[in-house]
């Protein structure tokens, strides 16, 4: 019986049909109000931004061009797992992983992204790749000026996407910080490069 009660309540509500009065045409003055609105709008502040001359900052979480981040000592965060490529609904990302070796170490752990391409003619800037990335190697910047005139220029290679080297970073490939392993990197215990890491 108790199951039926909510149904009854709905039926009760339905019986009170909502009465919307059917109006005739609005009075003349109300119709002329629209003219006043458009007339006064002429003297309001325009919302146009003079774009190439004036550039407004985007929202802080705007989805712009991607960036491949680095660990604080300059090793790449990307481990070439291809999860971003698999997550991509537009099939815009192409990744080829390769093995790290002690002589040629690009990232902590076994693998690194050897080839990394994002096709900006396909990318829809949905950010699913960012969510998929297990090492937070891939993030998005606020840069939105991505227009160009050829297909080739709009397929961004790894060099185009890699984050710039900050102070205290050394360009990959180079060995681990002395006395650390991949776990130290993942737990953020490596905070900068050591002089001994520099490749001859």
């Amino acid at each position: 019986m108790s199951e039926l009660e909510p149904k009854r309540a709905i039926d009760g509500a339905a019986e009170e049909s909502i009465n919307i009065p059917i109006d005739g045409p609005a009075p003349l003055l109300a119709q002329l109000k629209g003219f006043w609105v458009t007339f006064t709008a002429q003297f309001k502040k325009v919302t146009t931004v003079q774009y190439p001359e004036v550039k407004e900052a985007t929202a802080p979480r705007f989805h712009g061009r991607h960036q491949l981040n680095r660990h604080p000592d300059g090793l790449e965060k990307c481990i070439g797992c291809e999860l971003c490529a698999w997550a991509c609904p537009a099939d815009a990302i192409y990744v080829e992983g390769a093995d790290n070796s002690d002589e040629q170490r690009y990232s902590p752990g076994e693998r690194y992204g050897k080839v990394y391409q994002i096709n900006y003619l396909r990318c829809i800037f949905c950010g699913l790749c960012i969510e998929a990335c297990p090492t937070r190697a891939l993030t998005m910047t606020n840069e939105y000026e991505l227009a160009d005139d050829s297909r080739k220029k709009l397929i961004f290679e790894k060099e185009d996407l890699l984050a710039p080297l900050r102070s205290g970073m050394l360009p990959a490939p180079h060995p681990y910080y002395p006395g650390t392993d991949d776990q130290d990197y993942y737990h953020g215990r490596v905070t900068q490069a050591h002089p001994s890491q520099e490749q001859k």
Binding site: A14, I18, F39, A41, F43, K45, V46
Partner: protein, 412 residues
């Protein structure tokens, strides 16, 4: 006034013809810029401001771009008529300006004349007839394109222009009655005391509405509705031929505005009471007055476009045939009777009595109409409230209470 125009030597007529043409083309370029800027401001935008100072050269740049584009003639088109149609449209709209008085007496290249090409006794009728020939451009363009949308657009456009031309022509009858002439100069001269926009206010309003319908402009631009007909009769046109239609549309707007200025706003004359300005700049100040008045009309065109949504085709036709034309005819009757009385020296009281009688008849008629309408709504309302005999879709915001009995459902 008429004499000084008719005395013009041949070379001056040629020069004036060219000046009128240049004026129209320049007006078109400026009008497009003006419209885009004003509509933009109404939508809180800036509008074109890149080409030239304040974007003034934008329409020129667009025109050059248009002229340099590929000129496509569809395979299914009737080639000859396809080419002739835009030419008809573009020439007729310029011809209107031949009889528009754009200035009072001025000195032009040492000759005493006025900025008006010619004056004919039936000037306004000439304008109406030329405008009707312009419809051929639209019909032929729609028909010769050999495509569905242009055909529909052309038919709609021509039906619209023809319907509103009737209302337009009728609204001019009152002006003819008062001015006693169809010559544009005489009509302007007859308005030195009062503008006909004030004296013949209903005519003015009807003319103002029908001139918007006549030029296929918003809110009556349903024949060119971008969303439905992809531009209407000129869908298949490109490059210079399209530019000609575009030019024709804007020259037409300036043309009807100029005619409205001439017939209702005292033409090139200064507003009554400001007459002293008419001799300024050697008489050319009158041309400035004319230009200001035309610009004012054009602003109203833009304002309408920025404010009103497009009408439906049936609403539009209903408005033209069932409101504008009957109202016009009734008004002409009143004006004609009043005019007859005043011309035959009737006393002020008899005119007032007549006016009062008309007013009383109007009030009684409108109250009868209102009552009938209220009754009709009442009947509709009661039919709405009755239970539906069949599960029809409900009116908005009414939740359905109708359920088909189970046994019946299973039988089906």
């Amino acid at each position: 006034m008429r004499e000084i125009i008719l005395d013009d030597p041949g070379w001056l007529i040629a020069v004036k013809a060219h000046l009128v043409f240049v004026f129209c083309v320049l007006c078109t370029l400026m009008a497009i810029w003006f419209e885009r800027r004003i509509v933009a401001r109404m939508q809180l935008r800036l509008g074109p401001n890149r080409v030239g100072k304040f974007g003034l050269l934008q329409s020129l740049a667009d025109g050059v771009k248009l002229a340099l584009k590929e000129d496509v003639i569809p395979a299914a088109a009737d080639k000859l008529i396809f080419i002739i149609a835009p030419i008809i449209s573009a020439t007729t709209c310029f011809m209107v300006f031949a009889v528009i008085p754009m200035s009072g007496p001025v000195t032009m290249f040492g000759q005493e004349t006025a900025f008006q090409l010619t004056d004919i006794p039936v000037g306004v009728l000439y304008i109406l007839s030329v405008a009707s020939v312009g419809v051929y451009g639209i019909v032929l363009a729609g028909w010769s394109s050999g495509s569905t949308y242009p055909l529909l657009g052309g038919l709609r456009s021509s039906a619209q222009v023809i319907s509103y031309e009737i209302a337009m022509g009728l609204s001019l009858v009152a002006v003819f009655l008062y001015a006693g002439s169809m010559s544009t100069i005489d009509i302007v001269d007859a308005q030195d005391q009062f503008w006909y926009a004030i004296v013949l206010f209903p005519s003015f309003i009807i003319y103002a509405i029908s001139m918007v319908g006549e030029t296929n402009r918003a809110p009556f631009d349903l024949a060119e509705a971008e969303g439905e007909l992809v531009g209407g009769f000129h869908t298949e046109y490109s490059s210079l031929k399209f530019a000609l239609f575009f030019l024709a549309e804007y020259v037409n707007i300036v043309g009807v505005s100029a005619l409205a200025t001439t017939l209702f706003l005292g033409g090139y004359n200064a507003p009554p009471g400001l007459g002293f300005t008419e001799s300024w700049l050697g008489g050319w100040f009158t041309f400035i007055w004319f230009f200001i008045k035309v610009t004012l009309f054009f602003f109203v065109f833009v304002w309408l476009r920025g404010t009103l949504p497009r009408l439906r085709y049936d609403q539009f036709m209903q408005f033209g045939w069932k409101v504008l034309i009957p109202a016009n005819i009734a008004w002409i009757m009143v004006v004609a009777v009043l005019r007859y009385f005043t011309l035959n020296g009737a006393s002020r009281t008899s005119i007032l009595i007549f006016g009062g009688a008309v007013l009383v008849i109007f009030l009684i008629g409108s109250s009868i109409y209102e009552r009938a309408k209220a009754k009709k709504i009442e009947i509709e309302q009661s039919s709405v409230d009755a239970p539906a005999p069949f599960p029809v879709p409900e009116l908005p915001m009414k939740i359905s209470t109708f359920t088909v009995p189970r046994a019946e459902r299973e039988r089906e």
